[in-house]
């Protein structure tokens, strides 16, 4: 472990190219020891490729990644001993019981019988699966399987845990349970956790720091609070107008306290130092220009606004764009 600069992971100009397609383009960041670090971005942004390079599953095209003090290329075995990985695809064997899955994984890490006897029951207990320990994993509900994956990923007491979209496809109750477990792990085991997600609320609630990834590039990196503060204006006023004139957005930008105005899907996002004052001024301006106001709301800056600010589009828009790209061959 690299303790000198207190970084568990160092990623320097890491790049992955598949033919002409650049999945990850010279991304650099550091993950501090003991923090929960989130890679936030839509599907296809390059998050999984990044995590696969850091976990030695995919060789980088260029650049460098040092995980737990070990280079992912020259000391891949050292990396594998230092990390626990919960891949996006659930990788526990459905034909084996939870305990058997844990035991076989423990043996692959060379744990002795005594260590297995001690660790497996306590890990299963920590993820609330003690009573299901001897049940086949194939019979587990959607929420139980990720918990088992997390327990299995911790069986060799790693220093760093990688979670690739740990709550994708889970119902809200299961998602909350996984979030609580990740928080508990960080506090009790002092783990460094790197997770990828495309859920804003997940990143906001769990992560100490967030890196926004889009099109294989790092768009921004900071704590959720600082990222939100970095968006001009402390409040976002969202309004929908009837028949606004051509220069309407420019007129809105001239209002007191307003820093930026962007329009998305017929909704105008106005970043402002004071939401309520901007709403009053906005209503006056609308009356003056005979513009109808269909809806108006004020909210504090969210990560969605951060994503919009740094990438020029909303996360859901990016996701649907990725989907369109993935399915484009169907329309040829």
């Amino acid at each position: 472990m690299n303790t000198e600069n207190n970084n568990a992971i160092e990623v320097i100009k890491l790049k992955k190219q598949f033919g002409d397609f650049v999945a990850v383009n010279e991304v650099s960041f550091s993950v501090h020891t003991g923090e929960i670090f989130g890679l936030l971005g839509p599907n296809g942004a390059g998050k999984t490729t990044l995590i696969r390079m850091m976990t030695t599953l995919t060789p980088p095209t260029s650049g460098k990644a040092v995980v737990g003090g070990h280079d992912v290329v020259s000391d891949a075995d050292g990396v594998r001993h230092a990390i626990g990985v919960i891949p996006q695809a659930l990788t526990s064997d459905p034909e084996l019981t939870a305990r058997e899955n844990m035991a076989i994984h423990a043996k692959l890490y060379g744990l002795t019988s005594a260590e297995r006897q001690r660790l497996i029951p306590s890990l299963l207990e920590s993820v609330g699966l003690t009573e299901f320990a001897d049940k086949l994993v194939g019979s587990f509900s959607g929420g139980m399987r990720p918990r088992l994956e997390i327990a299995r990923g911790l069986v060799h007491s790693p220093k760093i845990l990688f979670l690739d979209e740990p709550t994708t496809g889970l119902d809200p109750v299961s998602r909350t349970a996984v979030w609580e477990m990740i928080n508990k792990l960080k506090e009790s085991a002092g783990l460094t956790i790197l997770l990828t997600t495309h859920y804003m609320d997940e990143a906001d609630r769990l992560c100490d720091r967030i890196a926004i990834v889009d099109h294989g590039l790092l768009a921004a990196l900071d704590t959720p609070t600082r990222l939100k503060d970095s968006v001009p204006g402390t409040d976002i006023v969202k309004a929908e107008f009837d028949n606004p004139p051509a220069n309407w957005n420019a007129a809105l930008e001239k209002l007191d306290g307003v820093s930026t105005v962007t329009a998305q899907d017929g909704v105008t996002h106005i970043a402002s130092n004071s939401g309520p004052l901007t709403v009053g001024a906005l209503m006056d301006l609308a009356r003056e220009h005979h513009v109808g106001v269909r809806r108006v709301s004020v909210q504090g800056t969210t990560l969605d606004d951060v994503f919009l600010y740094y990438t020029g589009r909303q996360l859901r828009e990016a996701a649907s764009e990725t989907l369109r790209r993935d399915l484009s061959h169907l329309y040829k």
Binding site: A89, H105, K107, G110
Partner: protein, 383 residues
């Protein structure tokens, strides 16, 4: 290399295997069915072939010939005789399939016999079925030989082609059979045993491996410190163990069905174990090398039949390799099935010792070493 990791992979596979007995059943049902159906279908003596006899001579000599046919009908029952009055009717029925051959005794048969002027009997055959043709020809040659040697008509229980010439022959051929008569089901057994191991290799080593890969299960192992060689050896050994279980079961059940004598001889069982073990490892290594770069679950299913044909038939399991054209012989030389079948036949049909199988065992071991080496070289540890 850490054996604990290899054993972990073996343990995982064996636990999964014992939870799905369908694999074991399916790997045994097909070879057993094949053994029983093919063994009895091809193994039986051909009986009741319809023969038309047209006797235009109607003499004592022609009645003697006719009597000899009746003796065959009463004895080995190879033929059923239908008397016809006209050759053209008989030929019509031959062409329409009502009879398989026509024996024609011409009107001058007895006269020529008395004159010693090469009396002739015509044998007109439907030669579209080699098995029937071959059996009929053997009977006819034996019958004519008996007439020439002045033997009495064939009696039930009497052996054919008894070498007891009336005149001193130039060469007296004595035939000594080393082994008792081998029924076809016994001949087929070795191939069925090898087939059961092949099916386990195909399902356990091919289909399950690719399915696990496509379900992402392998990703879970690839992020651990397991080495390529450990993962491959674990998968091959677990598959080979399953193959050994299937092969042993078919050896014992098939051996009982086929009536292999002294099946429980402990020394022979040890030798059988050696051949079955090396065959299983070789088959799994072969399958693993084929599948090492495959990720589409449809591929092993699609090539199942192709591989079966390409490995099973050229192995000498159902027909001797000596009868193959050169290109097919080359396939049989590089086919692990060939050495498995050869070793198993030596043990099951000839009750031979280690000397008869050691070359097969060595070739199968060499085969496995090369294939495992190639599999390790070609296996991609990264995605």
């Amino acid at each position: 290399m850490k054996f604990q990791r290899i054993f972990a992979i073996i343990e995982r596979d064996m636990r999964k295997f014992f939870r799905s007995p369908a694999l074991m059943m399916s790997s045994m049902i097909f070879p057993l069915m094949q053994l029983i159906v093919l063994g009895y279908a091809f193994g039986g003596k051909i009986k009741g072939i319809k023969i038309a006899v047209v006797d235009e001579d109607r003499s004592a000599a022609s009645r003697d010939v006719r009597q000899r046919f009746d003796a065959i009908v009463a004895g080995p029952q190879t033929m059923k005789i239908e008397d016809y009055n006209s050759l053209s009717d008989a030929e019509t029925d031959l062409r329409t399939g009502f009879v398989r051959a026509v024996v024609y005794i011409p009107v001058d048969f007895s006269r020529r016999m008395e004159e010693g002027n090469r009396p002739r009997i015509a044998f007109i055959e439907d030669n579209t079925d080699n098995f029937v043709t071959s059996e009929l020809l053997t009977r006819m040659q034996s019958l004519v030989q008996d007439i020439n040697q002045g033997l009495n008509p064939f009696q039930p229980g009497q052996r054919l082609a008894v070498a007891a010439p009336r005149l001193n022959p130039l060469v007296d051929l004595q035939i000594v059979e080393v082994y008792p008569y081998i029924e076809y089901i016994k001949y087929l057994l070795s191939g069925s045993i090898a087939m059961s191991i092949f099916i386990v290799a195909m399902i356990g080593g091919g289909i399950t491996f690719i399915d696990d890969k496509s379900r992402g299960l392998h990703e879970g192992y690839l992020v651990t410190p397991i080495k390529k060689s450990e993962l491959i050896l674990g998968l091959i050994f677990s598959g080979a163990f399953k193959g050994l279980m299937a092969g042993t079961t078919i050896t014992l059940i098939g051996g009982l069905i086929a009536g292999i004598s002294r099946l429980w001889d402990p020394v022979r069982l040890v030798y059988l174990g050696m051949v079955l073990t090396t065959t299983s490892v070789a088959m799994l290594s072969f399958m693993f090398l084929l599948m090492v770069r495959v990720s589409d679950p449809l591929v092993p299913r699609a090539i199942f039949g192709v591989l079966n044909t390409l490995l099973y038939f050229p192995s000498g399991a159902i027909y001797p390799i000596e009868g193959f054209p050169v290109w097919l012989r080359w396939i049989s030389y590089i086919d692990p099935f060939t050495y498995a079948v050869h070793g198993l036949k030596a043990l099951l049909l000839k009750d031979a010792g280690f000397q008869a199988i050691y070359s097969d065992v060595l070739i199968l071991i060499g085969f496995s070493v090369v294939l495992v080496g190639l599999s390790v070289a070609f296996f991609r540890r990264q995605i």
